[in-house]
Structure formats: structure tokens, C-alpha cells
């Protein structure tokens, strides 16, 4: 074994030395060359050089609605604070107390005195809650998965991802520069076919790192992923799984530990779980959870972790306080699931909208029926509906996608978030107003 090791290491050791020699030579050659820099720029060229401005065309940015305090005389079904923690006085008090101990900013990245005891506490608590060895906390939800993917996947690796993954995952994949294969949304047959093909063409081989990326509940569709099947395929084809549980932690499973708990999939089948503190926990930031071997790596390689200031301590404390409540009152999850189910039933009965989303998913997408319009007009139509609802005391969110940057831009829709604060009357009112808004905006 040791002998093998030596051969193995000796070979790269020689590579290191060889590379140094090559770099040394190249350096000498380059410095010689750059001294003889050949200047080709003539006056004529300079006169003909007409640089274009940074932004060429007029851009119209819709002015978003300004919100006062969430739910101030308003039913907010657009924000994704599923458990109502944004209004929880207990959390607020603890956050404020923390503010008066630590100040607002942490004034440094984790490496340089930006690690405050509350960060360690949150990491430990999250690890215990999710029953994993280790977690690491990022200071922004978007950057969590967008940094986690390129920390492992590099150029030359291969990634299999669902075509409907949300934008941060797409950017993480872009940043990794790996080869990516998108399979049809939640279509396991398609995935299997693609894996088979890749294995056949030796695109999948034991020397090449391969990853499978999916979301537990898709932000863009509200559907749940068939995790068991994914795990089975991943084990068969030796893929590591990165699962985005942003929307499912704190909403699914008996204790709110997410899809793995809900489906009874052992946590260590999933190589890396990525969660968010911005939805159920109603704070800011995100986290990665998994084994020590996996997560520790990000503390040196996660770009958004290493090169950015850590999460403000008061928001960290808010997340801890949220976790306390979640642990003390696991029945909140059941309540939320009930509301999600009711919403689903109510939405399926709508005349003018079709709904996408699983029964238990806290996110539902509503697509207006019978509107054949170009993308922009449709967005405008939805924004009119949003305005109509807002005037009547309900805040719904129109999905904001950047059409040209999305991989396959999803259909515009209204994103409705279930939350424990919704009661039957609210749901009836919501449906009623949505139908009326449709008719109003159609005419």
C-alpha cells in the first residue's frame, strides 16, 4: 500500500518539478519576448477605433413595488418566509440583543477575525439538526450553491443536472467550467438514458469526477425531485450528489430536516446538501452540510466563503433563534404541509390559472390559462395582476427571470408561497382575487 502511495506521489512530485522547470524556462523566454514588444498601433488605427459604450440600448427596468413592513395590513404570499419567522418577536429580540453585542457587520472574512462565536454555534446547531458531521455557513443564499459547485467540480469533470434548476445552480455550473448534461425535468428515464450513453461513450469513467445536481423542491416549478431514484442512479453510475434543499429544509419531514427525512433517504447517500437561511429561517445566508471530508474543503476553496465577509452576527443569531423554535415546535411543519396541501387543492380548482407544484411543496407556480403572448407581454400581464392584487391587500410575486441568461427560461408565472399564517379564509380570498384580477387584466 505504502509502495503504491510512493509511486503515486512520486509521479506527481516529478510533475511538480517538471512544471517548475517549464515555468522557469517559459518565464525567461517571455521576459525576453516582452522586451521586444512589437507595437502595431498606428495613428490611423487609433482614429478608426470607435469603442462602443458599455450599455448601448435603452433599458427599461420595471419599478418594483415598495414594501412596508411585511404584512402590515397586507397578506404577503410572495415572500418565502414559510414559517412566519420574519415576524416572530422572540427571534427579533434575540437578533437585536446580538446587534447590541457585536454591532452590525463582521468586518472581515471568516479567515480574518470574521469568525464570531455565533457562526460556530450556528454551524454546530445546524449540523446537529440535520444529523450531519459538519456544516459551513455562507453570507448569501445565492452565493452558497454558486460557490459550492465550483469548489468540487472543475474543468474536465462532468455534471448531470436537471434542466429546471434555479439560476444560482446554473451559475455555479458555469463557474466550474465542467461539461454539463441537462436532463429533462424530473424525468428519470431521460437521465438514465443519458447516463447510459455517457457510460457507453466513456464520458463517465473512474478517472473523471461526475456529479448529479438536483433541487429537493424546484424553485422554478415547485415540484419535488424523485430523490430515491436519483440516489439509485447515482450509486449505479458512481456520481456524487449535490442536492439543493433550500426550499425543503424547514418545510418537509417530520422535524423539518428536508427531503431526505421526508423520503427516509440516509443523509450520507447525499454527498453535499445545500440549504438556505433565507426562506424558512427568514434571515440571510446559506449553508452546506455533509461529512467533514466534504464540507471542510469549502473553508479553503469555497470562493464566496473565503473571500467575502461573514454573515452579520445579528442575522446569524436570528437563524439560531429560528432553529430553536423549529426544534421546539416540530408541529409547525405539519401545519405548513397542511396549508400547502389546501393551497394545491384550491389552486387546482381555479378557472383561469393552471398550477404547478407538489401537494406538499410550499411553493406553487400559477400560469395564466389561455394566454398566448410573447414573453414580455406576458410579464406585463402578470405584473398587472400583481398590481391588482396589491391594491386589494395581497402581495403576490411575479417570477423575475433574466430571459437571456437562463439556460431554458421558464414560463413566467406567479409564485405563491404557502405559510403557516394562511388560514382557509385567506386562501379563499386569494383565489377569488386572483380570478378577478385575471378577468380584469384580460379586458
Amino acid at each position: 500500500m505504502i509502495l503504491l502511495d510512493i509511486v503515486d506521489t512520486a509521479s506527481w512530485w516529478t510533475i511538480v518539478i517538471a512544471v517548475q522547470v517549464v515555468i522557469g524556462c517559459a518565464y525567461f523566454l517571455c521576459t525576453r519576448k516582452s522586451k521586444k514588444h512589437e507595437d502595431k498601433l498606428t495613428k490611423k488605427m487609433l482614429l478608426e477605433w470607435k469603442p462602443k459604450p458599455l450599455v448601448e440600448e435603452e433599458i427599461f427596468v420595471p419599478q418594483p413595488q415598495l414594501m412596508g413592513k411585511i404584512d402590515e395590513g397586507m397578506l404577503n404570499v410572495g415572500c418565502t418566509s414559510f414559517l412566519g419567522f420574519d415576524k416572530e418577536p422572540q427571534i427579533m429580540e434575540r437578533a437585536i440583543k446580538s446587534l447590541h453585542k457585536y454591532g452590525v457587520g463582521s468586518c472581515g472574512p471568516r479567515g480574518f477575525y470574521g469568525t464570531i462565536d455565533v457562526h460556530l454555534e450556528l454551524e454546530e446547531r445546524l449540523a446537529k439538526f440535520l444529523q450531519v458531521e459538519e456544516t459551513c455557513v455562507y453570507s448569501y443564499g445565492f452565493s452558497t450553491i454558486a460557490s459550492a459547485i465550483p469548489a468540487y467540480a472543475k474543468k474536465g469533470d462532468i455534471i448531470f443536472a436537471d434542466e429546471k434548476v434555479w439560476f444560482a445552480i446554473q451559475k455555479g455550473i458555469d463557474a466550474s467550467r465542467s461539461t454539463v448534461v441537462y436532463f429533462k425535468h424530473n424525468n428519470m428515464k431521460d437521465l438514465e438514458r443519458k447516463l447510459e450513453m455517457a457510460a457507453f461513450q466513456k464520458d463517465l469513467n473512474p478517472q473523471r469526477r461526475a456529479f448529479l445536481i438536483a433541487e429537493a423542491i424546484y424553485y422554478n416549478t415547485g415540484t419535488m425531485c424523485p430523490l430515491r431514484k436519483l440516489v439509485e442512479l447515482a450509486r449505479r453510475y458512481k456520481l456524487r450528489i449535490i442536492l439543493d434543499e433550500s426550499l425543503s429544509i424547514g418545510t418537509l419531514g417530520e422535524h423539518g430536516r428536508g427531503l431526505t427525512e421526508f423520503l427516509g433517504v440516509p443523509r450520507d447517500e447525499i454527498d453535499l446538501i445545500v440549504g438556505s437561511l433565507e426562506h424558512s429561517f427568514a434571515s440571510i445566508g446559506g449553508f452546506c452540510a455533509g461529512s467533514h471530508f466534504i464540507v471542510e474543503h469549502q473553508r479553503l476553496s469555497g470562493l464566496g466563503y473565503c473571500f467575502s465577509a461573514s454573515l452579520p452576527p445579528m442575522l446569524t443569531e436570528a437563524a439560531i433563534a429560528g432553529l430553536d423554535i423549529l426544534e421546539a415546535k416540530p408541529h409547525l411543519i405539519a401545519e405548513l404541509n397542511l396549508v400547502a396541501n389546501k393551497l394545491q387543492c384550491a389552486f387546482s380548482g381555479l378557472n383561469y390559472f393552471t398550477v404547478s407544484g407538489d401537494d406538499l411543496s410550499p411553493i406553487k407556480h400559477l400560469y395564466p390559462r389561455d394566454v398566448v403572448m410573447p414573453y414580455e407581454t406576458k410579464m406585463e400581464f402578470l405584473h398587472n395582476i400583481e398590481k391588482y392584487c396589491l391594491h386589494r391587500g395581497i402581495a403576490v410575486a411575479v417570477t423575475s427571470y433574466i430571459k437571456d441568461a437562463e439556460k431554458n427560461c421558464p414560463e413566467p408565472s406567479l409564485r405563491i408561497a404557502a405559510s403557516t399564517k394562511l388560514n382557509d379564509a385567506h386562501i379563499d380570498e386569494l383565489c377569488d382575487i386572483l380570478e378577478r384580477a385575471y378577468l380584469h387584466c384580460r379586458s
Partner: protein, 540 residues
């Protein structure tokens, strides 16, 4: 204009054309950084028509910048002696060799992956080796937890290790240290006072977070006010703010730069800028740190290639690892001469530099409109979190519409917004200038005394980031340990954040430090320098 002097011996037409360029740049200031492609005056036919140009003259090389007229000092980067370099390398190889032996003998349980037999190895072997067997030896000086505000002083939670830094445990002891490690340049990191009160009020009024993106339901009047105030503070038309400085670059740049763009990027640019450029899929060429001459060569080559729609120079205001300041007036002159665009990351400089705290733009007395994109963060001088992109209204609209953060990333927390607003107002108030001045005085005092000790200090006189070179990893660790023992908290920076043999100690000064505190730190530094032999400077 410098170019006029170069072309001084040439015919009249040359100087005329240069003045035309500067004229069009004058115009640029009003419509803020827009190089109106067709109305910008240097249309070739116009020059042809006046009939003075001979074809041969047009084939002559375009005049170069006259750098003698401008300050292009890149910062002081004293080279170490050959002996030091050789010893540093030797030390590093020794460290690696020891690590290598160690690796053969001992692989701890935490360093093995379970249940993934037959899978491709997850990590690059060298990276893994480096982090486990080289970095681990100095791991205890990084990520050190604190349990107080990162103000002028901080409280360290002491850690101990029983297994050679594989893991740590808390000893329960706490140590109060003077804080020379946090980016609290203006001392706004405070648990009480105006800013904290504003933050509390905002949290109570708007909630802790909005759980929605800015483009959806995450905009409050507070965000709008912050954007307006930021724009006014910087003296530009508009600004947009995001919840994380890193994401501001990484997600904002792809909204601004796209196909047909060539980026000339400083070699020491921050990871977020590099990531943003990668996500924007633009062509990037790198120039040596603050090297205006090389930048000019690259720009000339690029223009001569005639295949770029625009050329953007991406630089930082103050470099956080080098302590150097970008030579902005020279850069602006270069930009005007060659029609380049400028993206300036003021993460470490906004608030901390310039008489009025408006950043390097203020420090050098450059008009804010001469910089096309002003980016900065609120993490440092403002004691908060987040970042902004500011400039012409149209450009900011583009960042909102096409940048990724506005549509997808969640809105900045209201409490954080309020902290930034309060800090920004405090800087703009008369007392704010005192803070800025105190920071500058502290910086100069600290740098002067360090240099007098005979250590190698990088960067510019006025930069509040002060790197002191110790070259080797082990000296870096020893310095940090010994300074901590004397009640001074600083950070050491080594590979991969710096070149392998350029490990350094970085001091970040703050307006919150009193002279007495600084002198205590300096005395401690002096003792450690004596003990470890850190006087590497060749001329005192």
C-alpha cells in the same frame, strides 16, 4: 494633455486630433461614461476631409503616453535579497518534504471519504496535500473565533489543539487584543451608538429580512433611500445595492460586460472580480500589478487587433493584500487617450480614502464621472455588509435588468441598510471628515514607525492596509502567535492568497485606534521583529 506633449513635434493636426479626443471625453463627463459611438467626434472621415494628413503619416505609430508627466508609482514593493529568497524557498520545500513524509505515515480518519470506493478522487492530490500537511501546520492562526464586536479591540476565544491542528477545542479562556485585523477602517463597527440604533429601528420596522429578491417583493423605501444616498455620496447619477459585496462583482459584471468586450485586469484583482469576469465570458488579459506601461502596451495591441467592441480596464482602488493604491489619474489619462472604459472596485477604499472619504477617486481628485463603473462594498468602512454599483443611470439600469443579483438574490436586510445609511451620513457630516483624517494620520504614523524598524512594508503611504513582509510561512505563524501573546490581533497571509514565498503580516488600521493603542502595537511589533529577525529592508 500628456499626449499633446508627445506629439509636440508633430504637425498641428495631431494636436488637434488629440484635443478632439479630450473634448469628447469632456462630453463624456456629462452623459456619464457613455462613449456615444457615433457622436464622439473622432470619426475618421472628418480628419480625412481637412486634407492635411498624408497617408504615410497615418501609418506612423500612434504617440505613446508621456508617463513622465504623471504619477505612476505602483507602490513600494521592495525585492528581498537573493539569500532571503533562497532560504524562503528552501524552507518551503522542507515544509513540503516533511508534509510528504507525514502523509506517508499518517492519514487521519477525517481525511478519508466513506462509501465512495471506485469513485474518481474528489480532490486534486496537490491541493489536498497542501491543505492537510502544509497549511495545517499554521491553521491555528487563521479563522480564529472572536466573541465581541470587531472594533478597536476584540476578544479572542483561545483555542488549543491536541492533535497537531487537525482539530481544536476551546480552552475557555478569552483574550482582549487590540484589533489590527478587521476591515473596520472608520470605526463604524460598534454595538451601540447612532448606527446600531438606526439598525435596530429598521429591523423593527421592516423585519429582519424580506425573504424575496429586489425585483420581486424585496424593495423597501429604505433600499431606495440607500441607493439614492449612495449615488449622491459618490457624486454620480445612480446606484444599485446588493446584499453581499462578493456577489456584487460576481453577479453584476455579467450584466455589464458581454460579447465583444476585452478586459484588461490587474493581476492582483480580487477573486470576486475574476469570478465575475469568468461568468461574463469575456476575453481577459492580465497586466502586472499597477503597471501602467504594460497596460498601455496591452491596450495598444488590443486596439490594433481591431476586433473588440470595447476595452474595459478592471482595477481595485486599494489592494487588500499589497496595500497599494491604483494610480488613478494616470489611468484616467490613459483611458481618455485610448478610449478605454474603467471599472473600479473600491471595496477597501470607499470611506477610507480621500479627504472626504469618497474613496480613491477623492484621494486623487479625479472626477467621479471619469470612472465608468464605481463598485464598492459596505463591509469595510461602513461596518455593515453588501455592496453597490454606481455610475450613469443607464448603466445602473443595465445592472438591475441584466445583472443577476437584482432578480435572483435576496434583498439586503433592512438593519444592514440602515447601518450603511447612518454610517454614510456620518461620513458626510463634518465629524466624518475627522474620522477620515484620523485614519490617515494613524496610517502614516504606523507606516513611518514600521519603516523605521527596518522591516519591508509594501504599498503606498496612505493606504490603511499595511502588509509587512516576513516571507516564510513559519515566520508568519510565529509573528502572529507572538503578537497575540502581546495583545495584538493581526492576520498573516500566505499562499494561495499571495505568491508562495511572499507570506506577510497584514495590519489594517482604523480611525477607532487611539495613538496610545497604536504605539502599544508598534512596541509589540518591534519586540517580535527583534526576536524573529524580520528586518529585511535593505536601506533603512
Amino acid at each position: 494633455m500628456a499626449a499633446v506633449q508627445v506629439g509636440g513635434g508633430d504637425n498641428l493636426n495631431e494636436s488637434k486630433s488629440t484635443s478632439k479626443i479630450s473634448e469628447c471625453n469632456g462630453k463624456k463627463k456629462t452623459d456619464n461614461g457613455k462613449m456615444g459611438g457615433n457622436q464622439n467626434g473622432y470619426v475618421n472621415s472628418e480628419h480625412k476631409s481637412n486634407g492635411v494628413d498624408s497617408a504615410a503619416d497615418m501609418e506612423a505609430p500612434a504617440p505613446w503616453m508621456d508617463w513622465a508627466q504623471l504619477d505612476i508609482f505602483p507602490g513600494s514593493f521592495e525585492k528581498c535579497s537573493l539569500l532571503t529568497a533562497a532560504l524562503t524557498h528552501a524552507g518551503l520545500y522542507l515544509l513540503m518534504f516533511l508534509g510528504f513524509v507525514n502523509q506517508l505515515l499518517f492519514t487521519p480518519k477525517v481525511a478519508t471519504e466513506r462509501n465512495r470506493v471506485g469513485y474518481a478522487p474528489l480532490y486534486n492530490p496537490f491541493e489536498q496535500f497542501y491543505s492537510r500537511y502544509v497549511y495545517r501546520r499554521v491553521r491555528h492562526i487563521f479563522n480564529r473565533p472572536i466573541c465581541s464586536t470587531p472594533g478597536a479591540e476584540l476578544t479572542l476565544k483561545e483555542r488549543a489543539t491536541d492533535d497537531y491542528n487537525w482539530s481544536f477545542r476551546f480552552t475557555g479562556a478569552e483574550k482582549r487584543c487590540i484589533n489590527l485585523g478587521s476591515y473596520n477602517y472608520l470605526g463604524f463597527a460598534a454595538p451601540e451608538g447612532e448606527c446600531a440604533d438606526a439598525a435596530e429601528a429598521a429591523a423593527r420596522r421592516y423585519g429582519l429580512a424580506l425573504a424575496s429578491s429586489r425585483a420581486e417583493l424585496g424593495s423597501t423605501p429604505l433600499h431606495q433611500e440607500l441607493e439614492e444616498t449612495t449615488a449622491k455620496f459618490l457624486g454620480v447619477e445612480a446606484a444599485v445595492v446588493f446584499g453581499m459585496g462578493f456577489a456584487t462583482n460576481a453577479l453584476g459584471i455579467p450584466g455589464l460586460l458581454g460579447a465583444g468586450t476585452l478586459v484588461l485586469s490587474d493581476e492582483n484583482n480580487h477573486a470576486s472580480l475574476i469570478l465575475g469576469l469568468r461568468l461574463a465570458r469575456v476575453a481577459v488579459r492580465v497586466f502586472a500589478h499597477n503597471d501602467m506601461r504594460q497596460l498601455e502596451r496591452l491596450a495598444r495591441d488590443a486596439i490594433a487587433e481591431r476586433r473588440w467592441d470595447r476595452i474595459v480596464v478592471v482595477v481595485e482602488g486599494v489592494y487588500s493584500m499589497e496595500g497599494s493604491i491604483v494610480p488613478l489619474p494616470a489611468l484616467v489619462a490613459l483611458k481618455k487617450k485610448y478610449g478605454l472604459l474603467l471599472y473600479l472596485d473600491e471595496a477597501h477604499s470607499v470611506g477610507a480614502m480621500g479627504a472626504r472619504g469618497r474613496g480613491v477617486v477623492d484621494h486623487w481628485g479625479v472626477a467621479p464621472g471619469d470612472v465608468d463603473v464605481l463598485m464598492g462594498t459596505f463591509t469595510k468602512s461602513f461596518g455593515a455588509a453588501g455592496g453597490y454599483i454606481a455610475g450613469a443611470a443607464r448603466l445602473v439600469d443595465a445592472v438591475r435588468a441584466r445583472g443577476h443579483a437584482h432578480a435572483y438574490a435576496h434583498a439586503m436586510a433592512p438593519a444592514v441598510c440602515a447601518q450603511v445609511l447612518a454610517a454614510m451620513r456620518a461620513i458626510a457630516a463634518p465629524a466624518g471628515e475627522l474620522r477620515v483624517r484620523r485614519l490617515r494620520d494613524n496610517t502614516r504614523h504606523f507606516r513611518r514607525r514600521l519603516r523605521a524598524m527596518g522591516v519591508v512594508v509594501f504599498g503606498h503611504e496612505d493606504s490603511p492596509v499595511v502588509p509587512m513582509l516576513v516571507y516564510t510561512f513559519s515566520k508568519m505563524a510565529a509573528t502572529v502567535e507572538r503578537l497575540t501573546a502581546r495583545g495584538v490581533a493581526t492576520v498573516g497571509v500566505g499562499f494561495p492568497a499571495t505568491p508562495l514565498n511572499k507570506a506577510r503580516i497584514r495590519f489594517c488600521l482604523s480611525a477607532a485606534h487611539s495613538r496610545a493603542q497604536l504605539d502599544r502595537c508598534l512596541d509589540a511589533v518591534q519586540q517580535v521583529v527583534d526576536e524573529l529577525g524580520l528586518r529585511y529592508a535593505r536601506a533603512v
